[in-house]
Symmetry: C2
Subunit: 480 residues, 2 copies
């Protein structure tokens, strides 16, 4: 390599890291995002969901890939071809609307890139994580020996909790097949965790739910006995707070009683709904969670942080240190120190998740979380009342959270036809793209499903959506 080419290479890298470019492009992006944000909140754009089928979408990007494009234009293209979560007409999946403060603190994290698994690589970060975790443990009432960690998402947090349970209960299940009891309405990540751990499908014992999609806790005892008789060793019960499809809260007290009685690990998957711990109005839904061995809580759902941002809390912090115990000379020693978070998290390079959460609570107060939850839950109830007043719309379950399932019903249609009609409605809604809603199957029936994630979605907007739904129900007949 000649001196010339080496200099050129360095110039190229100098250009990439140039602070002036950084500053200019940064200011441009901030203005772009702030404009987009304002337009989104005001539902100014024609569509919250710019639907385009995968193949034509891909064609656009493949064509763009072949042309020179400025980063400014690329920002624009990505913005205009993504779903707009800050638009109040986005009432779809449970991914939350991030607060600008959280977004900006995540920029700080991305720039700093402190891979905080070891203390030296995240001195501020490990402290902030501890402050957040301690506050959460206090709010949940987990007691003096509690602790926990932040990790990359609810699926990973639930796996980690299951790994902790497996480890803590080792003496019980050795020589048998371990198993867990969980609501049939649990998120798929619980079954994924079991499968990941090498457990057979029958290790996840599904407890039937009642009419409101809550675990029939009175069935726990017999399911437990049957499992033990089959030679399985039940080690844990997972409570949903709340379930994914309908947002139903299991009776955590009953589960806690059952776990206490049989000395089982009690895990609460509160990825979505444990956020009510910050609400004065709805915290009662978590009664019993204070007796859990582990609790998962996503900050990127109801708590305004950008993804991924999940807390995993333990009643006994020692359990968190035992999950991954193993040796790695260059990185970790085996002390139980709070400040080397990599000993307890799955990740080795661990992103500074804490900054975006702490940025929100330090700027707006911890109570902001409760206020957001209250608003979303109250709006969902208001919308449910509106549904109840409409002749052809029926709820799939009582509204316990910010999740609503309802369907269009019409006399004279078979179940199959009715499902087709509701599928047609949902497809028409998203192709139109003003509103974004999702769908689910509940006991064989197709339901429209809404997660009210934006506190600014108004009743007027919701009623406009209902009107669209009713008109597409008619259109379905014409399409037949």
């Amino acid at each position: 390599m000649t001196k010339g080419s080496l200099f050129e290479m360095r110039s190229k890298l100098k250009e990439i890291y140039d602070p002036t470019h950084f500053r200019q492009l940064g200011h441009t992006l901030i203005d772009l995002l702030a404009d987009h944000h304002e337009a989104s909140l005001n539902a100014e754009t024609p569509r919250s969901f710019p639907w385009e089928p995968p193949d034509t979408q891909l064609q656009f990007w493949e064509a763009l890939d072949k042309e020179p494009t400025t980063p400014e234009d690329l920002f624009q293209h990505i913005l205009s071809r993504s779903i707009t979560i800050h638009d109040p007409r986005y009432i779809g999946h449970q991914v939350g609307m991030p607060a600008p403060t959280g977004v900006l603190f995540s920029l700080l994290s991305s720039y700093l890139n402190n891979g905080m698994a070891v203390y030296e690589m995240g001195m501020a970060a490990n402290c902030l994580e501890k402050l957040i975790i301690d506050e959460c443990c206090t709010r949940f009432g987990l007691g003096a020996h509690s602790g926990g960690l932040l990790t990359s998402g609810g699926t990973l947090a639930n796996l980690t909790a299951m790994l902790s349970a497996r480890r803590a209960m080792e003496d019980r299940w050795r020589g048998k097949t371990p198993a867990i009891l969980v609501s049939e309405e649990a998120h798929y990540c619980i079954a994924r965790a079991a499968k990941t751990m090498g457990w057979p499908p029958e290790a996840v014992i599904h407890v039937p739910t009642d009419a409101d999609f809550r675990m029939q806790t009175e069935r726990l005892e017999s399911l437990y006995k049957q499992a033990m008789e089959r030679g399985q060793q039940v080690i844990a019960v997972v409570g949903c707070a709340c379930s994914t499809s309908t947002g139903s809260y299991d009776d955590l007290e009953a589960i806690a009683d059952f776990c206490e009685q049989h000395d089982l690990w009690f895990h609460v998957d509160g990825a979505h709904g444990a956020a009510v711990v910050f609400s004065h109005t709805h915290a009662h839904l978590l009664k019993g969670a204070e007796r859990a061995n582990s609790i998962v809580l996503d900050f990127h759902k109801l708590l305004m942080a950008p993804a991924l941002a999940t807390a995993l809390l333990y009643k006994n912090n020692q359990d968190s240190f035992r999950t991954f115990e193993q040796e790695s000379a260059y990185l970790l020693d085996l002390q139980q120190d709070w400040y080397n978070s990599g000993k307890r998290t799955f990740e080795c390079t661990k992103y500074m998740i804490c900054a975006k959460i702490y940025g929100i609570v330090k700027t707006h107060g911890w109570d902001a979380f409760g206020e957001n939850v209250d608003e979303l839950y109250e709006n969902a109830r208001t919308f449910a009342t509106s549904i109840a007043q409409r002749e052809n719309l029926v709820l799939g379950a009582p509204v316990q959270s910010n999740i609503l399932c309802f369907r269009f019903v019409e006399e004279g249609l078979t179940q199959e036809e009715s499902n087709a009609q509701n599928a047609f409605i949902r497809q028409a809604i998203i192709e139109r793209g003003e509103y974004y809603i999702v769908q689910t199957l509940l006991r064989g029936y197709r339901f429209l499903r809404l997660a009210v994630m934006n506190p600014f979605t108004t009743l007027t907007q919701f009623e406009e959506l209902c009107t669209q739904i009713e008109s597409y129900a008619k259109a379905w007949h014409e399409s037949q």
Copy 2:
């Protein structure tokens, strides 16, 4: 709740989401980061590593937690109490120095918060991910049926690859204990993956390494036979590209031959070093990787993206769809569609990892990756030459990547004393905080360990570090 308090609540939330505040705070942060960036690149601050012990660090944050603080001040505090990866005196762990473009595109991702596991929640994102993966597959020469995904970090990607291997090899290991062969120098996440999957410790069979810390591939055959005789079913061999401690590349061709011969899954953990695929000069280190069943590559190490950003590539894309096959009515159907990335990734809420990677390559070109790698690898060689010229410094292994292990040696010291001396040196260096370096144990000896992650680290700076090392070696004697 009175109307008044509801209005107040909405006002609070309106304030949190206020676009004007977003804009103002955003511009402030950009200026702060650009200033910090400039100072860091120029090593203007006294220390790249503002060392403070965990307990006093925590005291600072606990005190701050009790006081009102503006987000601007909080930004500053986090910046000044974190490690400065953009400072050329940071030569520590393998977390890379993110390019401003990558950082800003990650801001876009955080704002958009498109949880892209389903197509609708990430229309642009799923396309960008496909473009990135396709390009990577081409670069690695994985062939016409290849494919893959982006996921949250190397540890998760390696677990996912092992899950794919376990699934693909199911018919082989059913009724036996599965096992894998891997270099004794492999990253701890391989053992963690095995443990996570419920495998006993002996399922990870460590292949000894040669003097250069490369797998002794000639030992594979006998270790394989012994394992099979013990009733284990070897299903995979993991090659390191490169190893963590010394940055040594296993002979991937030899491993590929062995895997072909025994019909085993060949996995390449290239989290760090597979980045050379983009380098004309160093790509030869990956010879044989084109025959791998799966390859892991981190973009947040040598490829300038902020964490977490990992690619998992498959020779046969079908394998990626089979990893997690299971049902979840509300989210995923079972087709093998490229555009619903959640079917193949561990995460359910999946961050738009693609944007920060694509932002870099679209702005600076794919070749920028190779240029960065070349610069870092060349600088490491230059520093190694400098070490060789110093009387009391010896390398632990030939330099094959951007990772350097060396130690201070002195006649008349026992191994224990020498280790203590090197530990003392490293502690003194980091407490002084100008330079940041790490340490590792190699065959019982303590080595100083450097990952040259910043292409702007100069030989002059490195020599200044060596001078500090030599002076602390003397100081160790005085401290005795």
